[in-house]
Each structure stands twice: as structure tokens, then as C-alpha cells.
Symmetry: C2
Subunit: 152 residues, 2 copies
DNA sequence: CTTGACTCGGACAACACTTGTCGGAGTAAA
DNA sequence: TTTACTCCGACAAGTGTTGTCCGAGTCAAG
């Protein structure tokens, strides 16, 4: 089990965007966090495709959050970058091999798939309980805003 | 986020082993589930390394559960096959780039890492609440035992 | 209106991991 | 002693992620 590294970058970027006044370009977000600009751009595109951020092209362009920071959950960002599909996919091997069960017994999902689904549900539920606004509240936003102004 | 496909195979194998009388070799486990024997062997080795199953070599050898089915949780199997490390690894990018925070502010984990850890904790908690015995109880064990006898 | 520079967007390699396979060392029974 | 069967490690192929680049479009300035 592994989560794409771009998730961390994207979450930090969303926190920055929640405190910014206007659009913030990819290059500045990369400099602020000390990461590769080219690679960060890919993840921001994922956020744009998911409708979490809105791009503005041309001079003085950049990205802006489409919703209020309190209306964007951590789960939204994770699913946008890492994909929304389930981590565990049941291949129905109970219907294969020597001890294949008859299809009429397989109307309900097998116990293994059920436990995995429950676990992922608990995982998503925790992530959906925290918003970008909550994350921003845990750190000193004054220094963040000051750095944003100075680098602009 | 993705979970290794071998997890499903390993869980099904553990359920079979919980109902078997003596050692079950890799070849029979593969035939019972209709999967590749060579590849299944690799995952069973992971289970052996984790101490969940015990191998017996030579003729009439195979794998046996080391503990009672009620003492082996789904989490044990998942961690044995897929690895026990956390899915999310914080790279401390808050200490890098233009808005790097001073180290004295970074004694506590950042909010992002905290949420991710909480979510994974909830995930593991769900998986550790179900045992191999629970999984075996959800299906008809009589047909399983009959197939085991017939193929032995 | 022209110019210019800056923005995002998708197409293009390199790397790592997972998946899949094989033959060899060792062991227990016959 | 022989034999056949078992597990175990090392060896390729495929797939997804990581990382990078240059071009099309756009807005502001002159």
C-alpha cells in the first residue's frame, strides 16, 4: 500500500492558495516549497481536472481555489491526485479453481472484499473530516502571508 | 493508493489452511484457487517470513498456520504481504523552500502528516478487527473440507 | 493595434516497483 | 540408498509512477 508523493505537495499548495489573494503561478508554488516546478505542474493539472482549482492563463495568471477552504476536504485532494478507485479490487477467485463456488452463492460480496471495503470507508471518512481550512489553522498563517507578499 | 494483488490470494489461502488437517503444499493451494503456482509461492514465502505460516519440506510437506485462526487478523496478512510501512511518508517540505519553517516549530508533526496517520490508523483498526476464523465463518466450510479431502 | 512575455497543457523519456517464471538446494519418506 | 517431492532464492517482463521538456494560447503593456 502506497500513496503517490504528489499528494503531499498538492495539499501544501492548497493551503498556500487558501491564504493567497490572487492567482499563484506554478513557478512560485514550486519555489515556496523547494520542489521541481515541472513535476508539480502535473499534479496541479490533476487538481484542475477535478475542479478543485481554476487556472488563469497569460501574464499574472496562476491557480485559484474554486471553493472556500472550508468546503475542500483532504479526501478531495487525495482522490484528485491519487485516483478515486478502490485500493483493493476483488478478482472473484472464489469462482475459480477446484473449489469454485456456484454463481448463485456469489450474490453478496465475499467476506474478504467486505472487510477491505469497510477499512477503506473508514480511511476515507477520516480524510473527509478535515478541510484545507483546518490545515491552515494549525500553522502560523501570518508568516505565510508575509512570504507570499515578499515573493510577489 | 493501491494494494498488492497477492493480498487477496494470501487471505484465501489462510482460510483454506484454517480448515485443513495437515500441511498443504503450494501446488494444491494454487489449483484450488486457479492461480499461478510460481507466483503464489512468492507470497507464501512472505507469510512464512512474517511467522504466520510454518513450512514443512520434503514429501507430504506444505504450509501450516502457526497460530489459531482466531488469533490471526486480516491486518497481519496484509502487512506480511504488502509491507508494514506507512502509505504516506511526510518529506518535511515545510522545512524547505522560501517559506521554510524554523526547526523549533517542527517538533510536532505537521497537520497533513497527522491526518494521514489518523486515517491509516482507522484503516488498520478495521482490518485488525476481523480474523481468519471470522472469514471462514462467512462461507460454507463443509464444501471446502470435502474438496480438500477429494484433492488430497 | 503590435509586441512581448508569461501562463497552462499535453506529449516525451527514465526510473522503480510489481508481477510473473525458472531451476537449484534441501528434506522426508520409501 | 534411492527417489520424488518440498520450499527457497535468483532471474526477466510488464506496468505504473516519477521527472522533464517544449509548444499553443492568453493577458498585459507599450
Amino acid at each position: 500500500m502506497k500513496i503517490s508523493g504528489g499528494v503531499e505537495w498538492s495539499l501544501h499548495c492548497c493551503v498556500v492558495l487558501s491564504q493567497a489573494e490572487g492567482p499563484v503561478p506554478t513557478a512560485r508554488l514550486a519555489d515556496l516549497h523547494g520542489v521541481s516546478k515541472s513535476y508539480l505542474a502535473k499534479h496541479l493539472q490533476s487538481l484542475a481536472r477535478a475542479g478543485l482549482v481554476h487556472p488563469t492563463e497569460g501574464r499574472d495568471g496562476g491557480y485559484v481555489l474554486t471553493r472556500a477552504p472550508g468546503d475542500i476536504t483532504v479526501l478531495d485532494v487525495v482522490q484528485a491526485v491519487d485516483g478515486a478507485g478502490p485500493a483493493f479490487r476483488c478478482t472473484e477467485i472464489r469462482q475459480q479453481g477446484l473449489l469454485a463456488a456456484p454463481p448463485e452463492q456469489c450474490t453478496a460480496p465475499c467476506g474478504i472484499a467486505k472487510v477491505m471495503a469497510d477499512a477503506e470507508r473508514a480511511w476515507r471518512n477520516t480524510l473527509s473530516g478535515v478541510t484545507i481550512a483546518d490545515l491552515a489553522a494549525t500553522l502560523d498563517v501570518s508568516v505565510l502571508k508575509a512570504t507570499l507578499e515578499a515573493s510577489g
